[in-house]
């Protein structure tokens, strides 16, 4: 349907209005086709999966700080010596020292009672936990599951659906002036498909008596993930299925966003009048549409290898525990890495571009400034997306890939720092000369910019192939990805939530607690992730269940404990957010204005919260770009897109309309179809 085709707007409005009132609860809030409801469903589900992913992160961190088998410390030995113990007596006392630290509460619940060393030495076994009995301590095989699922949950069930599902759904049609998505049914289907992926991925924990789900890392390199073994059993299979289904949901969503953005823009809303959040969503959707099928095909091949006797990734003569793997032969191990990273590198941009879009909008609104270099921002996002498809090899510098390719990928990867740098400079340019208000949304946006710089710059270390030899697969890369995805994407998500909350729920979040949440998050996340650079420089390999036994890792024990406690505090700080979020939802200050932040983009033009169909009556017409802040020709420091500047703000004498602004008021909009 063309955006300019005339249609009887009033009839449509009436229909939409009636439909809204007649909808039963389940149709309205559960199996909804309204993009706003679906967006909020994603938002709430992602808050839940975020807690699961966060808990897994804490368990991972706990294991790194307190792995099983801690020897008596020097102080403990000295203490015993000072009591006059020597020889066999000393040994006996030392054997009684218990330095194991089971994960609080969950440790004993999952892995059984923790017994004194004396009892263990006597062969006693405590009461078993849910996942069997290993003295309350997380076993190494479960540690692999923990970090695999932490990454999978955070990537597939939190960040991607939060950014594209929650914000994409909720914001895109509103910013476009569309009454809903192009395919509302597909939209609902996409959400419920994603829910299936969530259930299947979570189910992978429980298909093995010891809770051994997928434990081959979120990258699932074959042959580790490709041969059915006790530690890569049904959990790994479910993981593959879950990821395929999650990918299907992504594909449905991205097709919908692309179609919506191309076809359902409000009259006058040209592509280069779109807010950057929508631009980012557009580019992200294109990335998703091209990249995700590749991942799905890789997962399908993995499943075939595992269960149907094919050998896509298994070379001849593969020996597992003394026996030749029967179906191995003719496959290529590195093929997986090429296919996987062809998806997964763009996936990193799928996870950061929408956050960049959100942050751009937030910074413009809260510093009352037009985005500095709007077009360069769009071009740089496109460049990041385009280059994103030709840099996957930098994950494979040490994989045995042809070293000549290493040089190629090094150069292309280094080039991707350029558009990222351009974006950062443009954000700084936007701040320059602004009227900055440090609202929680703005604080998180500023946090994003300052921390994304670290994530971006640390990327250059890895992009440099020779130095990557040393830091590849060490904690340096863990630091890098978390600086991009936590201090980047997650900050962007928080920023977006604080920014759009009044529009979503017609209530305000508590500003003071929002600021407390920001500062605690900011401090503790640096406490968690910054030292990772340092231990990475020391060569600390990632995915190690225990550093015990390595002399060269021993110096980092203290730092690991520090990071773990920062992680715990970081986790606790998020409860401030949850309390604020849900408390404000129920008891927050009521929004008195439809446009409380005096913002320009179309989502602020409608009622609060937006009704079914988004606008009562026809959708607004767009007269100019979204970033007309502090235009000297206007009396007010903003110029909503739906107001012609000449008529509403023309000259300093014209009175700017005070909020609330109702879309139907002000200008006579041309007739416009709702769907």
């Amino acid at each position: 349907m063309s955006t300019t085709a005339p249609a009887p707007a009033h009839a449509d409005h009436a229909a939409a209005g009636h439909g809204h009132h007649e909808l039963p609860f389940l149709r309205k809030w559960v199996f909804s086709t309204d993009h706003k409801v679906i967006g909020l469903q994603y938002l709430f589900c992602c808050l839940f999966t975020l807690m699961v992913g966060g808990l897994l992160a804490l368990m991972v961190r706990w294991q790194i700080a307190y792995p099983a088998g801690a020897k008596p410390t020097e102080e403990q030995v000295q203490e015993l010596r000072s009591r006059g113990l020597t020889g066999a007596e000393l040994d006996a006392e030392l054997a009684k020292i218990d330095n194991d630290r089971p994960f609080p509460i969950l440790g004993e619940l999952l892995w059984g009672e923790h017994l004194e060393p004396e009892l263990v030495n006597a062969g006693e076994v405590g009461e078993a936990g849910v996942f069997g009995n290993s003295n309350g301590m997380m076993p190494a095989e479960w540690y692999n599951v923990a970090f695999t699922m932490h990454a999978s949950v955070m990537i597939f069930l939190v960040i991607i659906p939060m950014l594209t599902g929650a914000f994409g759904n909720w914001v895109i049609p509103l910013q476009l002036g569309a009454k809903d998505m192009a395919f509302p049914f597909l939209n609902g289907l996409s959400f419920w498909t994603w829910i299936c992926a969530v259930l299947i991925l979570f189910a992978s924990f429980f298909v093995d008596p010891a809770g051994i789900g997928a434990g081959a890392g979120w990258t699932s390199y074959p042959p580790l993930s490709d041969v059915v073994t006790p530690t890569a059993g049904p959990g790994q299979t479910l993981w593959c299925i879950g990821v395929i289904i999650g990918g299907t949901s992504s594909i449905m969503g991205s097709m919908n966003y692309i179609t919506t953005i191309v076809n359902l823009r409000a009259p006058g809303l040209s592509l280069f009048r779109m807010p950057l959040t929508t631009w980012a969503a557009f580019i992200t959707s294109i990335l998703q549409l091209f990249a995700t099928p590749v991942l799905s095909s890789a997962m399908a091949m993995l499943l075939f290898d595992r269960h149907m006797g094919t050998s896509f990734f298994l070379p001849e003569g593969l020996i597992f525990t003394g026996e030749t793997v029967p179906n191995a032969g003719g496959g290529q191990v590195i093929l997986w890495q090429h296919i996987f990273w062809f998806y997964s590198h763009p996936a990193v941009y799928i996870m950061i571009l929408p956050a960049m879009g959100i942050v751009s909008d937030v910074i413009a609104v809260w510093s009352r400034k037009p985005i500095f270099g709007y077009r360069p921002m769009v071009y740089s996002m496109s460049a990041i997306a385009g280059l994103g498809f030709v840099v996957w090899g930098h994950h494979m510098f040490q994989s045995g890939m042809n070293p000549v390719l290493g040089t190629t990928f090094m150069i292309s990867t280094i080039m991707i720092a350029l558009p990222s740098a351009v974006k950062v400079f443009n954000w700084l340019g936007t701040l320059w000369g602004g009227q900055i208000t440090f609202s929680p949304a703005m604080l998180f946006a500023l946090g994003f910019v300052s921390m994304f710089v670290i994530g971006g710059l640390s990327g250059i270390y890895m992009a440099n192939a020779p130095f990557d030899i040393f830091i590849h697969d060490t904690y340096f890369i863990v630091a890098h990805i978390h600086y991009v995805l936590f201090t980047g994407s997650v900050m962007g998500i928080f920023s977006g939530i604080y920014h759009w909350f009044p529009k979503m729920f017609a209530r305000h979040m508590n500003d003071a607690w929002g600021k407390v949440h920001f500062w605690l998050t900011f401090i503790f996340m640096n406490g968690v992730f910054f030292p990772m650079h340092i231990i990475g420089l020391g060569g600390y390999p990632r995915r190690y269940a225990s550093f015990r036994g390595y002399d060269f890792l021993a110096p980092y024990e203290g730092m690991n404990v520090f990071m773990t406690w920062c992680a715990i505090l970081l986790g606790l700080s998020q409860f401030i957010f949850l309390a604020n979020f849900f408390g404000s939802l129920l008891f927050g200050k009521k929004a008195t204005s439809d446009n409380p932040w005096h913002a320009n983009s179309l989502e602020w033009s409608t009622q609060t919260p937006p009704p079914h169909g988004n606008w009562i009556g026809p959708v607004p017409t767009v007269y100019h770009g979204p970033y007309e802040y502090s235009n000297p020709n206007c009396k007010e420091d903003y110029a909503p897109q739906w107001m012609p500047m000449q008529t509403i703000y023309g000259g300093s004498t014209a009175a700017a309309p005070a909020a609330p602004i109702v879309a139907t008021g002000g200008t006579p909009p041309p007739p416009h179809p709702a769907h």
């Binding site: 088998g69 263990v120 062969g123 009995n133 301590m137 299936c196 259930l199 059915v228 525990t321 015990r548």
Partner: protein
């Protein structure tokens, strides 16, 4: 048009969610662990009563029980024919924590010939599939000094096995059944620590630590208690054997199997002898 969409969405969402949930729950209950060797654990088949003739044994809950009044014992020795192979010492310098934990030199254990030319670590058992009562006390295998102790051991199907680690280093226990009924598993040992497992079918199971490749053990799982493992004197004694004629089977990890026939009389000691060679 719109109505139909709504209905379809309902059905589809419900259907997919239902399938996912049932898959999750079903998977959770099955407790199966297929490995590359195939075969899935089946706990219900574990203690299935075996049809027994009950000639010399009383029935007890479907499981046979030995009547001491009608039982005798078997004793014997496993001899070595030929020159005694020199024990091959293991170089542990690549694994410093093992080197620290091990006080004396340790040797390869795939064939241990004692100084008196007898063979250690040979399993001798009676060949029968009758199921006998399972002892309540668990069998124990320990990991100490980066070795499995004992190196060869036997236990009954359904009997608990305590897998201990007394070493300060991390081991993993990887057991690989040669039969089809029990399932392979691989797990890390808390150090020190104890984990429990039960095997439900007769089997000959390889235990290994993948971190310390020389560390290996063999476990014989039997349906009955009539087994013994030779020690440093090459001798074995199987006590409390029902009277009658039995086939005695010797099993050695690197030298295969031998059989002998032996007749046991109540209250008496029968003897048997095996000779192994390269």
């Amino acid at each position: 048009m719109k109505r139909m969409h709504d209905k379809t969405l309902w059905m589809l969402a419900l259907g997919i969610a239902g399938v996912a949930i049932s898959a999750a729950c079903g998977g959770g209950e099955s407790r199966s662990r297929k490995s590359i060797r195939g075969g899935a654990e089946n706990p219900t088949a574990a203690n299935a009563p075996a049809a027994g003739d009950g000639a010399a044994a009383a029935q007890s809950g479907g499981l046979k029980k030995v009547d001491p009044a009608t039982a005798g014992s078997i004793t014997g020795v496993v001899k070595w024919d030929g020159a005694r192979p020199a024990p091959e010492a293991l170089d542990l310098s690549g694994n410093p924590d093992c080197a620290k934990a091990v006080k004396e030199t340790i040797y390869k254990e795939d064939l241990v010939v004692n100084a008196d030319n007898t063979v250690a670590n040979a399993l001798v058992s009676i060949d029968t599939n009758d199921r006998y009562e399972v002892p309540a006390e668990p069998a124990v295998v320990d990991q100490v000094g980066c070795r499995y102790i004992p190196h060869v051991f036997a236990l009954q199907a359904g009997q608990k096995l305590k897998i201990k680690s007394s070493d300060p280093t991390l081991h993993n226990v990887h057991y690989i059944p040669t039969g089809d009924e029990n399932t392979e598993d691989n797990f890390a040992m808390p150090a020190p620590g104890v984990r429990e497992r039960t095997f439900n079918s007769a089997d000959w199971i390889k235990f290994k630590c993948d971190v310390h490749p020389w560390m290996g053990a063999w476990a014989a799982v039997k349906t009955h208690p009539f087994f013994a493992v030779t020690g440093t004197d090459g001798k074995f004694t199987i006590a409390n054997v029902p009277a009658g004629t039995h086939t005695l089977v010797l099993k050695h990890e690197s030298l295969g199997e031998q059989t002998a026939t032996v007749t046991v009389e109540a209250g008496k000691v029968a003897t048997a002898e095996f000779t192994l060679k390269k």
